[in-house]
Subunit: 311 residues, 4 copies
């Protein structure tokens, strides 16, 4: 197989402080599809073009943030192999039984140096995108609501010791370093962008003293026009916007950063680069991320919230 | 690795009947970058955002068509393994020594049932996209000329026995069947779309009695606006247009099909789907490709040239 | 006043052969807003961003076509003056009393050489676009449905003696000739594009032996992306498409021509030129409208339906 | 005539502190076409799609700002009538002879309450847009450089007593009030947006204690994609950006504000509203311009520079 191992970020369990407010945000304003609720009260949603049952899971809690991020792997054999590889590498893993999340198979769970809980799984029920499998339509008016993101694209997680996490993701999980932002001294990375595909990032990590923090979950849009449309919808719904619309120099992607009602940052993102593992990684100096346009290519300034505000 | 084995279509050697006319077309009108000419007189070009030295190679000949299509693989070990796998599968392979093509390493060459020559290679000199590797620019005015395609995206090749070719590409080379068009009886496929990544196709094959034919080489554009811009440029340069601008139902992509001066069809294409190997393949009935909008989603008609005109 | 006299095409009464089928087409598929029905059974609709009560009026009849086209003028004094000017020019006018159309003031009606009924009026109740007048929103999700055209943009009407009509519109009604298509001999125009503003056309006329025919009503969209979206929606609803998506050379506008269920052609159109009355008119030769790209700039061909199919 | 009187802003004479630096900015980076230099050393430029000889005139001076803004009127009779109307209204006018500006006819010049010099003129040599007048191309690669604005769209001028200026422009020059921003007390306007066409503004005025100040000259782009492209080009050329890319709530237009090397603010602007004189004016409260999204619809914040930084 040419596309093997870890396929993509498949689910993220997000903590919201008021469940119905959170559902209103992700389902009614952003336009995700609610696909189920479980006995624990968790609400499951998916983006319209995702085939699998869920990608965003909301859990009511007394503080915002991310419980865990799950990656779908190619198949059960891959799951077993990666579990063995993780254990061989010295990572303690545990099994979450199939069905603990709705329509989701057994998960291999482990904690990484940044404090985040990461999961791998091979099975999640395909429910389709509403376009059919025979002579499919390109999109469906029924599933196009709100900002109508295409998929959960990636996450940026903040915590300590991202160097260890980069090593784990590249050496064990098969990710490639696509871009990185250096610390002011140029001696190490403060943000690393890692891909397991030809996306500019499937996951990214930022160095931060406190473990387990969520910088943002990113949702893919099809065009820069749709990024503005998302911005209009944010404004119409009094969503707090952090940065954008603008282009990131890093990844070249087009972006708006904003916050859900609980303070979890999310991104509406238009991809604009398709790196391959044989491409050399791109480097941003610390000055480059600000004045060099890495964060905000048009304005060439460092919005302080980028480095400091997480959930 | 999550992105392993065969990475992407890396080069296509295209026959043109007048070399300078062909160079004018691909370099000056389409906007590819000329990167070299070799002792045989072949002209090497690349799309602006491709990192490697070349992707389109033009050879003067007395008839149009494609000499061979090459796929870049992850590394030399992968090349050796795939060569062994091909031989084990019963495919006769030969080695083309490094340097036979400019800035390109050793190639493993073999012929497939449709009569096409396919190559695998692991090495091609990275020359970059003109944006730099440290604090890179998102694009470079110097490299943005003409239609300014981002990359050689895929090819559609016509020849006999695509079922055998599909089997080879999926069982040995790790490709996934993403979409297929059925014959009128529904008993088999007349076109298959195969991906080794999360592109809607890295290669496609159409059933055709004559072997080794080229239906089109496709070049990626960033947006539907750029597809129109490409169409304007075609018109300004009296390029013969076959179909479009429109949306394909198949792959959802936005397209114009047109011909180079030698009669090789090319496509300017905007991708709009990102399938994964765990997604079920989509099926188009024979009627679906015409009236069902598979070829021309807006017009829902079967342009006869699609099935009959090749080079 | 700088913008005086005739302001814009304000309403068109279209004949449909099945009223509810017509309403379904214009309201549910195209996305116009139904604003009323009158005692005669006529259905009134408007585009989302139009401020006045109606722009498209559907009347059930046993054949398709256009009953009349109405232009809004600046004010009642202008209406009186233009009526007097028309009479002085030798045009017989009649008055249709206020209220004969819903929410519409008195109309001055007259027939032109091409056989069409033209109306002028100064008053139509402003109902707004749903965005408010104080701190307005840029658009409203409630009013964005279907193809969501912004406004009735222009009409192309076919009939005999367009030279006389051009003279009337330019000499009496203050329109400017913006573009024209010459007959094969180059001795006269077969289509003239006339503007009373800085639009590339507010009305156009094509030479045709039969009087009073409708070539198309055109609806404005904001972008080329929206033109494709309209094309997708046409396809999803099995609307017969005539031409496009493509760019017209004439007016530079981006277009799809299609037919409503009764056979009235309509256009979804993206404007791309803003002529002024001091600009010299542009000329298209007869060959220019076909091979020169006047009709279909990308394909440079003359779709025969353009000259022959009307309602 | 339906489009009569004052047609559009036709020229602006801008002061730059280093002429060649200014020419580099407007010609090489923004992409205007240099059309001439006069004996005074002034440099004349036009946008690619403007037909007349010049729209931006650069004059070297020891401080930035605007010398005068000129409006093209329909014809010489209109010029005479407007001069007479101005004098009747109590405005002192003077005549600048034809030829004082290159390729420009006689100008009627007067000063308005805000301290700005305004001119009217009827004649400026048509040099065309490079697309031809017979079977024209929609655009020309030769004229598409840099940000490639379509036209000088409007200006926002700051000075005292905009109420008097609004009265003059609407009562004498035929402009319509399209939108206005109220002062905090709601007792008067602090910015007024005036149109002589169906543009959302041909000129705007902001209340400011110091007379004769330039807030910005605005240049029209065709799409939101082109606004981002302009932003990329600004970044590549280290142009200081003030606000954007974003949408203005006021006018709905899409925008980036930035500064030329002398500190004159300019805007790259995508129009998104087409008001008519019969439409009711839109009102923005003082809070509405900030938190209400009037200035920055996505971010809903008042960038202080909007009210305070002028040249």
């Amino acid at each position: 197989m040419a596309m093997t191992g870890v396929l993509r970020p498949g689910h993220a369990q997000i903590r919201v402080m008021d469940l119905e407010e959170g559902v209103h945000h992700y389902r009614d304003i952003m336009g995700l599809v609610e696909t189920g609720r479980d006995a624990q009260g968790r609400v499951y949603l998916k983006c319209w073009d995702e085939m699998d049952h869920n990608s965003v899971v909301l859990r009511q809690a007394d503080r915002a943030g991310i419980d865990f991020a799950g990656f779908k792997v190619l198949d059960k054999a891959t799951l077993e192999k990666l579990d063995a590889d993780l254990r061989a590498y010295g990572v303690k893993t545990e099994r979450i039984p199939a069905g603990e999340m709705l329509e989701t198979g057994e998960r291999v769970r482990f904690q990484i140096a940044t404090g985040h809980i990461i999961e791998l799984y091979a099975e999640k029920t395909a429910v389709g995108n509403g376009c059919g499998l025979i002579n499919p339509t390109p999109w469906s008016p029924d599933t196009m609501r709100g900002m109508a993101p295409i998929r959960l694209d990636h996450m940026l997680l903040y915590g300590p010791d991202i160097a260890a996490v980069q090593k784990l993701f590249t050496e064990v999980l098969g990710f490639t370093l696509v871009e990185r932002i250096l610390n002011p001294e140029g001696t190490g990375s403060i943000v690393v962008f890692l891909s397991c595909s030809i996306k500019s990032h499937d996951i990214a990590f930022g160095e931060y003293p406190e473990p387990g923090k969520l910088h943002h979950c990113s949702f893919l849009l099809d065009s820069w026009d749709h990024v503005l449309r998302a911005g209009d919808i944010m404004s119409m719904n009094n969503i707090r916007v952090d940065i954008g619309p603008t282009r990131h120099g890093v990844t070249r992607g087009c972006t708006i950063y904003a916050w859900d009602p609980s303070g979890n940052r999310f991104e509406t993102f238009k991809e604009d680069r398709h790196p391959y593992p044989d491409h050399e990684a791109l480097t941003w100096t610390f000055e480059g991320v600000g004045q060099g346009g890495g964060l905000d290519y048009v304005q060439r300034k460092l919005h302080e919230t980028f480095l400091t505000v997480v959930s």
